[in-house]
């Protein structure tokens, strides 16, 4: 069946099997930052923003995102123009194997969109669906708080210019 959605700002129509899961539809379409870690919604590596809300795409049918706006980490930034969350993750030393990183960045993005000045506890709550085996989470939490500060600074600077 045909599935039409806006993915990272581009309206795309994908051919998918009716029982296809969102993770497979996206990976097959080349969005390989969506990682497969468990297939049960427990690890968060496959997180995608659907209308801005982070969901585990391995427990979402592709058909459920018909007409929706999807964001994968490829849509947030590139190595040339990284999103502040990407830079903060790198600077904090939060990226070890990196397999959980895209998903965490997306959940963190949703958190910061909603709450630009979170506490460490807010960050822990927001990331509790993302399993990481390398880091012990310490540096990811630091990174999200740091990114929040960067984004606030940027917003303040932008506000001042206007």
């Amino acid at each position: 069946m045909k599935l039409t959605a806006t993915i990272n700002g581009v309206r795309r129509t994908l051919e998918v099997a009716p029982r296809a899961l969102l993770i497979d539809a996206l990976r097959d379409a080349g969005y390989t930052s969506v990682k497969r870690g468990c297939e049960t919604g427990d690890c968060g590596a496959c997180t995608v923003l659907v209308d801005g809300v982070p969901l585990a795409s391995c427990v979402v049918f592709a058909g459920q995102v018909e007409g929706r706006v999807l964001t994968t980490v490829e849509g947030l930034g590139t190595p040339d123009r990284p999103h502040p969350l990407m830079e903060a993750m790198v600077d904090a030393g939060a990226v070890q194997c990196g397999f959980c990183t895209p998903g965490m960045i997306l959940s963190a993005k949703a958190l910061l969109d909603e709450n630009p000045d979170p506490t460490a506890a807010d960050v822990k709550d927001a990331l509790d669906g993302h399993l990481c085996r390398c880091t012990g989470y310490v540096k990811q939490i630091e990174a999200v708080l740091d990114a929040a500060a960067r984004l606030r600074t940027r917003a303040a600077a932008g506000g001042g210019a206007r």
Partner: protein, 790 residues
């Protein structure tokens, strides 16, 4: 080498070289490439713990449209090998076939399918008709060597390939023993005696990326294996052996890897390779999470008894370690994990009389393998609980007891000499040890003196306690492991650093680049690292045994020193200096600087050597083996809160003070420690593979095998206490494994401080803690059958 401090790049924390690409979602991992015409493989797993395949008929599966190949034991070579990715000849027995007519655990391989889609491959599995003769299984490691126990490896040709004890007819996969002095005599005379037996349970590594492999034949009919491995060179050798093709026909590519922790030191690629060889098409195989839990590898469960005999002043006069480990259905790492139970604990406390015996037995349960800590996890637990008990009997503070008796710089241990990996060890003296400072700073950070013993006799329902332990590990396997590196110079004065060492997420590419940059006198961005590809990079044993920074790092340093010499030669020519004056040149920030302050850039050197005069490629190869395995040391401190009504134990704060020598990249080193600690904590409190009475795993999912998430995280404090290891690159030792060993004993000792009961059987679940508080028998043992009857 002389002490080169102060450093320029070493000891700083630049960005991890590959991190930004990963954070931006670069297609860097095994499964991020699509190869046209790729088939999808699925394996059929045994539903029985122990059975003979009396008939297997894949004709219905082969007839399914879209199925391209089905392999059973009839279709593949019968070549015994080990899946343990170890140096050749391996200390693990040759007891494994690509596919066999016998299955030895629930989750063992039965057959493989390659089909046009994953769904077709899955459907085809159900169409393979298998008849089994079910055999009685061995599910309790304590009964594995009983007379008359079912023999798991009754194939006549299962064998050890090095001269070590191996008796498969008794289900004995590995055995080691060692004695120094006369422990029994010393025990008899020792005024303080402690006797502790602890168990450890089945755990799984759970890298977030499961095992995934893509194999294809290139234009020259060579087999390309793109795989998530820690040991590309061992994969090449063992797949060649198992598929019966020459090593030269195989190229193994290790791209970015989504974590390993030892489980990717296992060579499981052979069957995917065979499917590609049989079909001539690209084949991908990806373990599901459930398969990863059961059919990859696990931590060897163990029962370890420690006996200590101490003088009245605390000095050990006798230590004896008696070990039984369960290697599961195959003997992967059976012997060497058992050896490490002794070699990574006993030298910590010098003692004139030491006994050590270990058996590793086969059972019909999932296969043990290499897992961060590698035996030290299993043995440090009882050792450090025993020390806690000893301190209490002696009436001394546990920190002070360790301080008094631990090994010191300049001291050797007969254990180093006596106990290697499958052979005798190597004589070595401790070249660096800052354990005292670890003890001091860790104690301050946890608030040891204020918090110790405060709730033991209080009427509170939720009690706090603190506990600690001391630890050691090693750095590489001495006189066995080898790492090599090559370095070549480019036009712009940058360098390609090619290493066989395997970055599996640890940051070793960055660390090795920092070492090269330090030795060359260039900035980090002028070192382009590539790891690893068996066609392109020099040999390295791979990422295990805490070896990469220490061993491969020294190979990199050597290679860089050679190249630097070549650079200086050319620079001297440019500067018109006589060859004898080369020694007076120094390098800094990509420039060669003469004593008279004249400067030549590395780019000038490169352009001259490549294009101008006496053209040659500035390049080098260097190899390194180590004659020592210098231990990192650590003192860990846990603060716990125990709910005496529910039995729930929460770690409130955890302090890891670690002496890893020079931390080449302190931030990455911290990351290693934090990750190891949290893995250790959740192994101590919740993680456990559970089995029913038929040997089936009950909880092969993240929903039921609980690893910690952000909301379970205690306050974590990491303290790296610098020392300078004279045999390591820029003073470095290892850091990656040691800290996974601390949480079991530190938390057990903290629970005792809180509530006055000792736990010897992890994980320390609420139910076990409550049972211990009530003084009733904790839930049944062994852990492999726990809850099986409920």
């Amino acid at each position: 080498m002389s002490d080169p401090r102060p450093f320029r790049t070493v000891g700083t924390s630049p960005r991890k070289v590959d991190a930004l690409g990963m954070a931006a979602g670069a297609a860097a991992y095994v499964d991020d490439v699509a190869i046209s015409g790729m088939l999808h493989a699925k394996f059929l797993w045994s539903p029985h713990a122990h059975a003979r395949i009396t008939r297997i008929d894949a004709s219905r599966a082969r007839a399914l449209p879209g199925v391209v190949c089905v392999l059973t034991h009839h279709d593949v070579p019968r070549i015994l090998h080990t899946t343990a990715g170890q140096g050749y000849p391996e200390p693990s027995p040759y007891d494994t076939l690509m596919l066999d007519s016998k299955v030895r655990y629930v989750g063992d391989r039965v057959a493989a399918v390659a089909a046009e889609t994953r769904a077709i491959a899955e459907e085809a599995l159900g169409l393979i008709d298998v008849e089994y003769e079910v055999l009685p299984p061995v599910l309790d490691m304590e009964r594995a060597m009983d007379p008359g126990a079912p023999v798991i490896h009754d194939e006549p040709d299962a064998r050890a390939v090095i001269p070590v004890p191996y008796e498969p007819q008794r289900n004995l996969a590995g055995h080691v023993d060692m004695q120094i002095g006369d422990p029994e005599k010393a025990f008899a005379a020792a005024p303080v005696q402690v006797d502790v037996t602890c168990h450890t349970h089945y755990g799984q590594h759970t890298p977030i990326e499961p095992h995934v492999t893509i194999c294809w034949l290139d234009a020259d009919n060579r087999l390309i294996i793109r795989t998530s491995t820690q040991v590309p060179f061992h994969v090449r050798r063992i797949v060649a052996q198992s598929c019966d093709i020459p090593v030269r026909r195989i190229r193994v590519i290790k791209p970015r890897i989504g974590g390993g922790f030892g489980v990717k030191q296992e060579v499981l690629e052979d069957l995917v390779a065979m499917l590609a060889l049989k079909t001539g098409r690209p084949v991908k195989h990806e373990y599901t999470r459930a398969e990863e839990f059961v059919s990859s590898r696990t931590r060897h469960p163990s029962r370890v008894r420690v006996r200590l005999g101490l003088e009245a002043d605390g000095k050990p006069v006798a230590i004896d370690l008696d070990v039984l480990t369960n290697t599961g259905a195959y003997g992967s790492h059976a012997l060497t994990v058992a050896c490490n139970c002794g070699s990574k604990t006993l030298p910590l406390y010098p003692c004139p009389n030491v006994g050590f015996r270990a058996d590793s037995v086969y059972t019909n349960l999932p296969v043990g393998g290499a897992y961060r800590g590698y035996g030290a996890t299993q043995a440090a637990f009882p050792m450090e609980v025993a020390m806690d008990i000893a301190a209490e009997r002696l009436g001394v503070d546990p920190v002070e007891l360790r301080r008094k008796i631990h090994i010191r710089e300049g001291q050797g241990s007969d254990v180093f000499r006596a106990l290697g990996e499958g052979k005798a060890g190597v004589v070595q003296k401790i070249g660096s040890c800052k354990l005292d400072e670890c003890l001091d700073r860790g104690a301050v950070a946890i608030g040891w003196s204020e918090k110790r013993g405060r709730d033991r006799h209080s009427p509170k329902l939720v009690k706090l306690g603190v506990g600690m332990c001391a630890l050691m590990q090693g750095s590489s396997i001495p006189e066995i492991d080898m790492g090599a590196a090559s370095l070549k110079m480019n036009d712009d004065g940058s360098f390609n650093l090619l290493v066989g060492a395997t970055d599996l997420g640890t940051g070793s590419d960055t660390v090795l680049a920092q070492i090269a940059a330090e030795a060359l006198g260039v900035s980090l961005d002028h070192v382009i690292v590539y790891s690893s590809d068996t066609d392109l990079t020099p040999f390295d044993v791979g990422a295990y045994a805490s070896s990469t920074t220490y061993l491969s790092g020294e190979a990199v340093r050597k290679a860089a020193v050679i190249v630097r010499g070549q650079v200086l030669q050319v620079a001297a020519e440019i500067l018109g200096l006589p060859p004898g004056d080369v020694d007076q040149l120094r390098t800094e920030a990509g420039e060669v600087i003469a004593p008279d302050a004249r400067r030549v850039t590395f780019a000038q050197v490169a352009l001259r050597s490549l294009y101008d005069a006496d053209q040659h490629q500035i390049a080098s190869f260097a190899s390194h083996i180590s004659h020592a395995s210098p231990p990192p040391f650590a003192a860990h401190f846990a603060e716990v809160e125990v709910d005496t009504e529910t039995g729930f134990c929460r770690v409130v704060k955890y302090v890891a003070a670690v002496d890893c020598g020079t931390a080449i990249n302190p931030k990455l080193a911290e990351g290693q420690t934090e990750g190891a600690v949290l893995n250790g904590i959740s192994y101590a409190l919740t993680e456990e593979l559970l089995f029913d009475q038929a040997g089936r795993c009950r909880n092969p999912s993240f929903g039921h095998y609980k690893i910690f998430s952000t909301r379970d995280l205690p306050e974590m404090v990491t303290i790296h206490v610098p020392s300078y290891e004279p045999t390591g690159p820029y003073g470095a030792k290892s850091v990656s494994e040691i800290s996974i060993n601390g949480p079991l004993p530190a938390i057990a000792n903290a629970i005792y401080d809180a509530i006055g009961v000792r736990l010897f059987q992890p994980p320390f679940t609420p139910e076990r803690i409550l049972a211990a508080l009530k003084g009733v028998a904790p839930p049944s043992q062994p852990p492999s059958l726990k809850n099986g009857s409920r």
